[in-house]
């Protein structure tokens, strides 16, 4: 006996057309290009609305975001075996993020344990979804074809662009956090303790040895 499915369909329709509801879908329907576009969008929104208080939560999430971007980069078809000059930007960035991550593991290091900024988490999740999609269907791409090769290069640029915008947002947050600490120190009259760790990108300048300067 055939079952009348119309009432069930009517319920779904009602949910779909309800302006106050976001209908749940069973899977992510975005393409890899759309996901990279979303990462760019999230990075921009973050940069437009970032403050000093966001510095800690953003910094905690940064190494994971870079790691997910590196996974996506590695999953893209057409990767050449061995050391490839094309991979240098992401390799360098990953090494710096890994240094930050190991620094964050130190329980006495700032910002310590705590929440990760949800915007940074959303970016990482989007990159993970894109990687899954590429791993599933990437084998079907004829990467030696000019059009496909161009698309893959565009994807790599988009990954770096997303990270560039996000890194800038993190930089703004850290800068603002530093300014707020200085302001607080001026108000309270207490000195600001300088960090003992230095950024991997800015190694401390070695102090000149006694007697090594110009003797005139």
């Amino acid at each position: 006996m055939a079952t009348d499915l119309r009432p069930a369909y009517a319920e779904i329709d009602e949910e779909l057309f309800d302006v106050d509801q976001i209908p749940r879908t069973s899977r992510d329907l975005r393409s890899v290009g759309e996901m990279l576009f979303d990462v760019d969008y999230l990075g921009r929104q973050l940069l437009m609305d970032v403050a000093g208080d966001d510095a800690g939560p953003l910094l905690r999430g940064w190494p994971t975001t870079v790691a997910t971007a590196e996974d996506l980069w590695a999953a893209l078809p057409g990767r050449r075996p061995g050391v490839d000059e094309r991979d240098r930007p992401i390799t360098r960035l990953s090494a710096q993020a890994a240094t930050i991550e190991s620094s964050l593991a130190n329980p006495r290091a700032w910002p310590g344990q705590g929440p990760i900024d949800p915007r940074m988490s959303q970016m990482a999740e989007t990159l993970i979804s894109a990687t899954s999609l590429v791993r599933r269907y990437g084998g079907e791409i004829r990467h030696e074809r000019t059009e496909a090769h161009r698309d893959l290069e565009a994807a790599r640029t988009r990954i770096m662009h997303g990270l560039y915008v996000t890194a800038h947002a993190l930089n703004v947050a850290l800068h603002e956090h530093g300014r707020e600490r200085v302001k607080d120190a001026r108000v309270t009259g207490r000195r600001v303790n300088l960090a003992q760790h230095h950024s991997p990108s800015t190694p401390p300048t070695p102090s000149p040895r006694p007697g090594s300067g110009s003797t005139g």
Partner: protein, 123 residues
């Protein structure tokens, strides 16, 4: 890239440059009425530099078109923040993977910075 796609990119960049030119004029006008140490002077300079950045991305022989994005809204009636936001939106579809638009990412970052600063100044 096809000629049509190239034209669309330059038109888009031209529109961005014009929006930024208008935004910088508006901020400079407000800065003229403000105190000499007002942050509006910094914002005006920032927007002006962003306008130069957008212009520098275009070919030398490109002629800027008249902006007519939303004819129902006069460009002069928009606030600097609205103009900056519109310029940022236009950058989303730029083909930033192209070698001649490699500086486009910096333009995006600068526009987002300017929008944040403009919001902070109560625009």
């Amino acid at each position: 890239m096809t000629t049509a796609a190239a034209d669309e990119t330059w038109e888009r960049l031209g529109a961005i440059a014009q929006l930024l030119h208008r935004a910088s004029s508006e901020v400079w006008s407000a800065a003229d009425q403000a105190a000499p140490d007002s942050p509006l002077h910094d914002l005006g300079l920032g927007v002006y530099l962003a306008h130069s950045q957008a212009s520098a991305l275009m070919p030398e022989d490109h002629v800027l078109p008249e902006v007519d994005l939303e004819p129902e809204v006069d460009l002069h009636e928009r606030t600097a923040l609205q103009l900056l936001t519109e310029a940022e939106k236009l950058t989303r579809a730029l083909p930033l993977h192209r070698p001649d638009l490699v500086a486009g990412s910096q333009l995006v970052v600068d526009l987002c910075d300017l929008i944040r600063e403009a919001r902070g100044l109560g625009y």
